[in-house]
Every structure is written in structure tokens, then in C-alpha cells.
């Protein structure tokens, strides 16, 4: 166990005895070993993520490929966690302290994580929309000879993209706007009253929510982390620790997803997760968390939170520059300028390709995480069901 001082190991020894008395089996040594291994694996996996986050070729922090790796890490840790929690354990232990409190808390947390998965998965569609608009710009600007038509086509798409990216947090007024413009247009032909239009507009607005009304990703993350307390003293050995570790990982992963993908209501997203610094397995998680928080704050100042995903940032940067090009475009184009632009268009095309290849698998992986969480929860509950006697109503 890393970072154990004298007192820690002393308490460990006590807890070993106590647990041996309680569990009456010789497996405790094995369990401690497993737990230590689990911490090591968690540390290693996140260290890997930390080193990949330095990548400057586009697969670094908060890129699609990094997020997919993050989800892989989550799935690996989760499998190991479940093995530690369930294998060789008498189910009745789960209904005794400290697990009787920790496991239900953990389950509350994972249910919230499921909602985050759904919101993020839905929001991946928004990112796909960015991609599609960028693709139009690429198609237009790749054409040769390039003229006003192509440039205008690209600009139209990029402008829509910028509007989407600038959308304020939580609001998704695109649909509302469109509903209004149709309302106006058809007002010529139909006799819809203004009241009808207002209701249809509000209906559209409610459609644009991916989750239930008032659901907020930021609040969800907040709630998930609020009762996250590191086990102390005797509890810092099995079995409270793996629950705590997995909780921390879950909160971190969901938080990173919410930061990267513009899902419903991120206003007031935490920039600091309560992970104690002295824990060995958490070093890389803390480092990553600080990096993402830094990025978040930087973007928040510019009010451009939609694009925390690496690929979105790239699209945004290139988009801004290409809009500049489009604004100053005059036919016939300057050959040097065109070459410059061609490089940017190629990069934009490359980014779109990455998104095209990565977003769907990312979405599916989020779904996999979702199903995994559901199944694990069910497994534990089933075990409890079989273990603890059903308390039937007394008649």
C-alpha cells in the first residue's frame, strides 16, 4: 500500500485482525494483496492517460482517442473493482458496516453516472453536427478552381458552426429559432394565431432538452462528489477502499466527459474534485483533473465552452481562420493565400475524418459503460437479495 506511515500500517494490522475475526477465513491476506494490486493498476492506467495527454499530434488531453482510452480505463478498473468486491466475499458482508452504507451510496452515484452517460451520448450528436458543418466547408474549399460560390458555401456552413459553438451554456435555441422563422413564414399562408406560435415555440424548446427538464450535468457531478469521503483509519483497508477508489474514478470520468462534450446545463461545473493528494493511486487522476480544470477556466473566460473536446477546438480554430479567409476573399484568389488555406483545409479535413471515425465508437463506448454500470449494480443487488432474507410484510 503506497504512502502508508507508521500509524497507517498499525491501523492496518488492527483491521486485519478484526477482519479475520469477522470473516473467519484465511482469504484476507489474498484480499489485501488484491487490493494493493488494484491500486497499482489504477495508478498505472491513469499514469498512461496522463502521458497520452501530453500528445501534441491531436490525440492528447480531451481528444476523442483520449476519451476512448479513458473509457477503456474505466471499464478495466470497473471489472477489477467488481471482482474485488464480490469474489470470495460472503454477501452478508455487504449488508454490514461499512459496506452497508458505502455500497448504496455508490449505487446512488452510479445511477447519476448513467444519466450523465445518456446526456453525453446525446450531446455527441451535437458534436457530430459540428463535424458535418465542417465537412461542408472542407468539400467546398477543396474544389479547384475555387471561386465565390465555393467560398460562400463554406462560409455559410462555418457561420452556422460558429453560432452553434457560441451557444450559451444550457441553452439550445437553435430549434426555437427555427420554429419561429417557420411560424413567420407560414403566417402568410395559414392563420395561426400568435398564441399558437408561442406554444409551438415553447414546445420546440422543450424538445431540445435531451434530459428531463431542469436536469443539469453540473449538478449531477456535484451530487456525485458531495459525499465522496476517503475512508480513514481501519476502514482504509478492504473493503471500504475499493468502493472509494471506484467512486472517485467514476466521478472523474463522468466529469471529464461533461467537460469535453457540451451536454445539458454545465453551468457551475466543478473545477475541483475532492481527491486527497496523499493517495498514491490518485496522483495521475489529480494531475489530469488539474489540467482539464485549467482548460475549462481558460475557455470559460472566452465564453467558448462548447469546444473543450480537442477536435472541436481544432475545428473552431480553423473555422475562425477560414471565415477570415472567406470574408476577405476576392476573385481571382491569390495563389499564395490559397496554398495557406489549402493546408488549413487539409487539417480540417483530417480532423473531420478523425471525428467521423471516432465519434460513433465513442458513443458506443459510452453505451457500453452504461450497460456495464447497470449490470454490475444488478449483480450486487441480486447477491444482496439472495444473501439477506427477504423481509416480507407481516400480516
Amino acid at each position: 500500500m503506497p504512502a502508508t506511515d507508521n500509524q497507517g500500517s498499525f491501523l492496518n494490522r488492527i483491521s486485519i485482525r478484526r477482519n479475520q475475526v469477522v470473516s473467519m477465513d484465511g482469504n484476507h491476506e489474498q484480499e489485501l494483496e488484491d487490493l494493493e494490486l488494484f491500486q497499482k493498476h489504477v495508478a498505472d492506467r491513469f499514469a498512461d492517460l496522463l502521458s497520452q495527454s501530453e500528445d501534441t499530434l491531436g490525440d492528447g488531453l480531451l481528444s476523442i482517442s483520449w476519451l476512448r482510452k479513458l473509457l477503456d480505463v474505466f471499464l478495466c478498473c470497473e471489472a477489477e473493482y467488481k471482482a474485488i468486491l464480490l469474489l470470495g466475499r460472503d454477501p452478508s458482508q455487504i449488508s454490514k458496516p461499512p459496506l452497508d452504507k458505502l455500497v448504496p451510496e455508490f449505487h446512488d452515484r452510479v445511477v447519476k453516472a448513467l444519466d450523465v452517460c445518456n446526456a453525453v451520448s446525446h450531446a455527441v450528436e451535437t458534436v457530430r453536427h459540428y463535424q458535418k458543418l465542417a465537412e461542408i466547408a472542407v468539400t467546398a474549399l477543396e474544389q479547384r478552381p475555387i471561386g465565390d460560390g465555393q467560398v460562400r458555401r463554406a462560409k455559410k456552413a462555418l457561420n452556422s458552426l460558429m453560432i452553434l459553438l457560441e451557444e450559451k451554456e444550457g441553452s439550445n435555441h437553435k430549434l426555437t429559432e427555427r420554429a419561429w422563422s417557420f411560424g413567420r413564414r407560414s403566417a402568410n399562408a395559414t392563420t395561426s394565431s400568435s398564441k399558437d406560435r408561442a406554444t409551438s415555440a415553447s414546445q420546440f424548446r422543450s424538445l431540445s432538452w435531451s434530459m428531463s427538464r431542469g436536469w443539469s450535468a453540473a449538478k449531477q457531478i456535484q451530487a456525485m462528489s458531495s459525499n465522496l469521503v476517503a475512508p480513514r483509519g481501519g476502514e482504509s483497508s478492504s473493503p471500504a477502499l475499493p468502493v472509494y477508489i471506484m467512486s472517485t474514478i467514476t466521478v472523474f470520468v463522468m466529469w471529464a466527459l461533461v467537460a469535453a462534450i457540451p451536454c445539458q446545463e454545465r453551468n457551475g461545473l466543478l473545477t475541483h474534485l475532492p481527491v486527497p493528494k496523499q493517495l498514491g493511486w490518485a496522483h495521475s487522476i489529480i494531475a489530469l483533473q488539474e489540467k482539464i480544470a485549467e482548460e475549462w477556466k481558460r475557455k470559460k473566460e472566452k465564453n467558448r465552452l462548447a469546444g473543450l473536446l480537442e477536435e472541436t477546438q481544432r475545428i473552431e480554430k480553423l473555422g475562425v481562420s477560414l471565415i477570415e479567409f472567406a470574408d476577405s476573399f476576392q476573385f481571382p484568389p491569390d495563389a499564395d493565400r490559397l496554398e495557406e488555406v489549402a493546408v488549413q483545409v487539409a487539417e480540417l479535413g483530417e480532423t473531420c475524418k478523425k471525428m467521423d471515425e471516432g465519434l460513433m465508437p465513442l458513443q458506443q463506448q459510452i453505451r457500453e459503460v452504461f450497460h456495464r454500470i447497470v449490470r454490475s449494480r444488478t449483480e450486487v443487488l441480486d447477491l444482496l437479495d439472495q444473501g439477506g432474507k427477504v423481509t416480507a410484510p407481516i400480516m
Binding site: 465565390d148 460560390g149 417557420f182
Partner: protein
């Protein structure tokens, strides 16, 4: 196109040939049934022919002027339309000819661009300039078409009206009483519901967009795809159709809930939401068949784009339905949820083939898998709930005897519950088969040699018999709570009679089998007999001719009998046999036995009985016996007075 034939030149003949060829190409291109490749070839050919014309005429220096003229003409037309506030395909305002004119102009521009482009390798400034202008006009026209399609799609949207789909309002009804505490024989509405929403078997396609605008959309699609503005077309199309579907979910009153909301929701609201969900699932799958048809009509010629767009339209809305289903499957396994879980399971199972067909392409794989996964989750949850139901019966504990020995609520609950379950026979059999296959200890048949029909051997039937056996042993336990052994018999008789009766007069009979019914009739009759014996044998023994000299007087016997009878009366009027027939039977057979013995004793001993000891005439007794088992304790006042 400009009239190339009017140009007089030495190569006039050649130009004529080109123009003729171009004419043919255009005529061929007008054919609506062309496939994608052919259309492409024709459009390229058209471009090449235009280029040839340009080359031929350019050599005379007049060609570009000609082209310039055409462009100018096209540009003017497009601009004039652009300034027009009315939309071209707005059927109320616009002239259909104008719309086709617009598309024709785009065709012309496209042909010009094709021609100019194929020259551009060695082209000069003038030609580039023209190409720039042409592209620019084309872009303007495309941007206009993008608006037009959105407008057409919105304006001519038709609300889906499902055929044969019961639109019975699903109000906030709590129809099945789901607690152990109070259950009466109610749930015939379950049957009603299931019969009314008969499955819609035949393929039914509804026009989600008014059919008369489909050709317009199709021709716009052809034009936009033809000039590589397919991305814009798809975006516009997908976004309007996606919103239409989401809106339709609102029409179906499907609300968006987070998983957390669902898991915390009270059962009554959940019950209501589930009913809406089941109905919405049924309808949405029909809706999607029509949506797919619409996509096929408009995008059918464009290969993989078609399924891709269809998936994008449906994905978001289906995700809501899927997540709600998953959330329900995650919930706790209270017995009352079983029917709704099975409803959900069945609606997914019934529609699974359709879902597989709708999303058969690669783009739809994730959706397909998600529905299979959902079916599995719902099945697991349904099975777990069913099995837990059995455990709950076994674990149901009473601390006090059930007053009066009547029909215990648990018995009613269990019997009504399994009676309702017969409606879900097929699904339940599938689920239980999986379970028993996986389980090394399948349900042990409490009795062998059930009837010959195969249905009595199905998984569900076995489980039913096992459930009734569990119920019986629980009732046995409960009967032990009575201090009065005789009341135990009444209690068991009542409950077994109820069970047998319930099975006999509904579909349960087919599953549980006549053999079972016979056994249970025997059982309750045995308890009835035991009751008679235990209660009356001792009472009637007082009337036996006893020749012992010490205790010989008949009067004393009568007195003893009367006291004993009154004691029985006091006790057993408070007991209850809710079934009137059963009660009557028992009263009659009791009457026969008691009155007969009493009468014959009186007859035999009439001489030696002191009249004052005879408090009740046989007729009185007969009437008193009719007071037994009515559940309201009474006392024969006379006994105290005399």
C-alpha cells in the same frame, strides 16, 4: 441552353451533331427511373458535350460570349426568384411551372459548369471568370433549395395516424390492487386491455409528408445530389424529420425522465408512464416504418446515405424510449411490477423483428443491439420479479390468526395474480425456460401425474403448481396460529376451496390441470369432514344411549347437549365461510347429522326427558345451524335465562 445551331461556321455540322447529342442526353436524363450511376454518366456526358460546343465555338471567339449570355440569363432568373418572398414550392402561392423552371435553370447552369470545368486545365482568365460566376449562381440556388426543402417538409408534414391502434386514453388508473393487504377479485381489465390492443400485423405505411410534394422533394434531392450539395440536403432533411419525430413523442405524451427520476418514481405514476411507454413503443415502430418509406422515396437512389439519414432521424427519440426501458428494468422487483414488466417485455419482443428489419443496415447496428439488450434486461427483471413473488409468498409471515377462518388476503392475491399471469403465458414460458435451463435445481413438481394436455407441463404451469404448493404450506403455517383446532379446518377448507374454485372457472384450469383441481376438492372436503367430526362427534356423543347407572338420566344428556350446542353456536357463528354454497353445504350436512341424532334421541327418550331440560326444538336447532359461519358472533340468550 443557347441555340447553338444558329451559329454559322464551317463546323456547323459538327455543332449540330453535338447539340443533337446533348438533346438526347437531356431527354434521357429526364427519365425518373434512372439509377445513380447512369445519372452521373449522363450529367458528365452533358458536361463534355457543352465543353465540346465551347471548344468548337471558342475557336471562333464567339463561344464565351454565348456562354456569358446564358449565365447572365440564368443569374437574372435565380436572383429574381431569390428576391421573391414566396417560396417556389408553396402550393398555395406559387406556380408549379416556376418551380420546374427553377430546376431547369439549375440544370443549365450545371451543364455550363461541367463544360467550363473540363476546359479549365488549359483555360484562360475569361473562362475561369465565367466558371466563378456560374459556381456562385449555383451556390445561391442551392442555398435557396435548402430553405425550400425545409419549408416543404414542415408545411406538408402530416400527423401520423396509426391504423387499428387503440387510442384509448390511458388515464391515471390503478386497476390492479397491488398490495398484499387488500385484494379483491378485480383484474378483468387486464384482459380487456390486452384484447383491445390487438397486434397490427400487416405492414401499414402512412404518408408522413403529403404525397403530392414527394416528387418535388425527390427532384430537389436529385438536383442537389447532382451538384454535390448532398450534405446540405441531408442536414436539412434529417433535422426537420428528427424534430418531427421528437414532436410526435410529445404528442404521444412520452415524457423525458432521467434514470434517477424513474428509479425514484412512485409506483402509481410509474405504472402510468409504463402504459404510455408501451403504447408509444407500438406506435413509434409503425411510425418508423413510414419514416423509412419516406426516406426510401426521397433518398432511395443515393445508396448508403439513405440508411444513414434514417438512423440519424430516429436515434435520439429511440434513445429516450430505450433509456426509460432500461431504468424500469433496473428497478426493484416488487410483485406488482410484474405485469407492467411483462407488458414492456412483450412489446419489445413483438416489435423486435420489425426493429431488426428497420435497422438492418450497418448504420443501425447500435440501435438494433440496444433493443436486444433491452429485451434481455426486461426479461431478466421480469423473471427475477416472478421468482421473487414465489419467495415472497413463502416468506409472508402472520403473527395473529386470520379472524373467523375466512379466505386469507394472501390466497386471494396469489390466485388472482397467477390468474392474470395466464395472459402472459407465452412470454413467461420463454423467460422461465431460460431460467430453468440455467438453474441446476429447476422447480420441483409438487405432484406428478398431472393431466395429459401438454400445456399443463409447460414451464409456467409447473411454476404455478409450485406457487400454489408454496401458498398451501404457508396457509398450513398460518392455520397453526389458531388455538382452536377446529377453526384450522375451517380456515384451510375455505382457502383450499377458494383456490380450487378460482382454478376451475378460468384459464388457470388449462395450466394447473383437472388432476390438481380434483385433489384440491378432495382436500377441502376432507377438512369439512374433519370439521364435522371434530366439532360434532363429541357433542353428539352426549346423546348416545348410555346405560351407565350413575349418569343415566336422558334429561341430563339433553342438558349436556344443549350446553355443548350453545357453546358451539357462540363460537362458530363468529367463524366465516364466505362462499355461500360451501357454507350451505356444510350447514346442511351438519344439520342432517345433528338434527337426526337429536330427533331420534328425543324420540327414543321422550318418556324419560323432563320437558324443562328441552330448551330447543329440532326446528330451532335447524335455524340456529343456519346462523353458523356468518362471521358475526351470537349468543343464544335463552341459555342464560333458563
Amino acid at each position: 441552353m443557347a441555340d447553338f445551331s444558329s451559329v454559322l461556321s464551317p463546323r456547323e455540322g459538327e455543332i449540330h451533331v453535338i447539340a443533337a447529342a446533348q438533346h438526347i442526353v437531356k431527354a434521357l436524363g429526364a427519365n425518373k427511373n434512372l439509377d445513380d450511376d447512369l445519372r452521373k454518366i449522363l450529367s458528365q456526358l452533358d458536361g463534355h458535350l457543352s465543353a465540346m460546343t465551347l471548344l468548337t465555338t471558342e475557336s471562333r471567339g464567339t463561344g464565351f460570349r454565348e456562354v456569358e449570355e446564358q449565365l447572365k440569363y440564368a443569374e437574372e432568373k435565380i436572383r429574381s426568384w431569390e428576391s421573391n418572398q414566396f417560396l417556389l414550392w408553396d402550393s398555395d402561392e406559387s406556380d408549379p411551372l416556376e418551380a420546374s423552371e427553377f430546376l431547369k435553370t439549375i440544370d443549365e447552369i450545371q451543364a455550363l459548369i461541367g463544360g467550363l470545368r473540363s476546359l479549365s486545365v488549359n483555360g484562360n482568365g475569361k473562362q475561369k471568370d465565367l466558371l466563378n460566376r456560374a459556381d456562385s449562381i449555383l451556390q445561391m440556388a442551392m442555398s435557396r433549395l435548402e430553405k425550400e426543402i425545409m419549408h416543404i417538409l414542415v408545411k406538408h408534414k402530416q400527423y401520423f395516424q396509426p391504423k387499428n391502434m387503440s387510442f384509448r386514453s390511458c388515464g391515471m388508473d390503478v386497476l390492479y390492487d397491488e398490495s398484499f393487504v387488500s385484494v379483491e377479485d378485480v383484474p378483468s381489465e387486464e384482459e380487456l386491455r390486452r384484447n383491445s390492443s390487438g397486434k397490427e400485423s400487416d405492414e401499414y405505411i402512412f404518408d408522413l409528408i403529403h404525397p403530392h410534394v414527394i416528387p418535388h422533394l425527390k427532384s430537389i434531392a436529385n438536383v442537389m445530389f447532382g451538384v454535390s450539395y448532398d450534405q446540405e440536403f441531408c442536414q436539412a432533411f434529417v433535422s426537420v424529420r428528427r424534430d418531427a419525430l421528437e414532436e410526435y413523442l410529445v404528442v404521444l405524451k412520452v415524457e423525458k425522465f432521467s434514470m434517477e427520476d424513474v428509479l425514484k418514481m412512485e409506483w402509481s405514476s410509474l405504472n402510468y408512464e409504463i402504459k404510455k411507454w408501451v403504447r408509444a413503443m407500438n406506435i413509434i415502430i409503425r411510425y418508423l416504418a413510414s419514416e423509412k418509406h419516406l426516406c426510401d422515396q426521397i433518398l432511395g437512389d443515393f445508396g448508403f446515405v439513405n440508411p444513414l439519414c434514417f438512423v440519424e432521424i430516429s436515434k435520439g427519440s429511440l434513445a429516450h424510449l430505450l433509456n426509460f426501458g432500461e431504468a424500469i428494468a433496473m428497478g426493484t422487483h416488487e410483485p406488482e411490477k410484474l405485469f407492467r414488466l411483462l407488458d414492456m417485455y412483450e412489446v419489445v419482443a413483438d416489435n423486435l423483428l420489425d426493429i431488426d428489419a428497420l435497422f438492418s443496415e450497418e448504420a443501425g447496428t447500435a440501435i438494433r443491439l440496444d433493443f436486444h439488450e433491452l429485451l434481455r434486461s426486461l426479461g431478466d427483471s421480469g423473471r427475477a420479479t416472478f421468482l421473487k413473488f414465489g419467495n415472497a409468498i413463502a416468506a409472508n409471515v402472520s403473527t395473529r390468526p386470520f379472524s373467523g377462518g375466512g379466505i386469507h388476503p394472501l390466497t386471494k392475491y396469489v390466485m388472482n395474480y397467477i390468474k392474470t399471469l395466464t395472459l402472459y403465458c407465452n412470454s413467461l414460458n420463454v423467460l422461465l425456460k431460460d431460467q430453468d435451463a440455467a438453474d441446476s435445481n429447476p422447480v420441483v413438481e409438487p405432484e406428478n401425474g398431472q393431466g395429459d394436455s401438454s400445456i399443463t407441463h409447460c414451464q409456467m404451469a409447473c411454476h404455478f403448481r409450485s406457487i400454489t404448493a408454496t401458498l398451501e404450506s404457508n396457509l398450513d403455517r398460518k392455520s397453526k396460529l389458531y388455538r382452536d383446532g377446529v377453526l384450522q379446518h375451517i380456515f384451510l377448507m375455505n382457502n383450499f376451496h377458494y383456490m380450487a374454485q378460482k382454478v376451475k372457472c378460468c384459464d388457470l384450469r388449462i395450466f394447473i390441470g383437472d388432476e390438481w383441481i380434483k385433489e384440491h376438492i378432495v382436500k377441502y372436503k376432507q377438512h369439512a369432514m374433519s370439521y364435522e367430526r371434530a366439532t360434532w362427534n363429541s357433542v353428539l356423543s352426549l346423546l348416545k344411549d348410555d346405560d351407565s347407572p350413575r349418569f343415566c338420566s336422558a334429561s341430563k344428556a339433553i342438558r349436556g347437549f344443549t350446553i355443548a350446542f350453545e357453546e358451539v353456536y357462540k363460537n362458530q357463528t363468529g367463524w366465516s365461510i364466505p362462499d355461500p354454497e360451501l357454507r350451505e353445504d356444510l350447514q346442511i350436512s351438519t344439520s342432517q347429522k345433528v338434527i337426526h341424532a337429536y330427533r331420534s334421541f328425543m324420540g327414543r327418550k321422550s318418556s324419560s326427558i323432563n320437558e324443562k331440560y328441552v330448551r330447543h326444538s329440532p326446528d330451532d336447532l335447524q335455524n340456529y345451524i343456519l346462523d353458523l359461519f356468518n362471521g358475526s358472533p351470537r349468543i343464544l340468550q335463552s341459555s342464560r335465562k333458563k
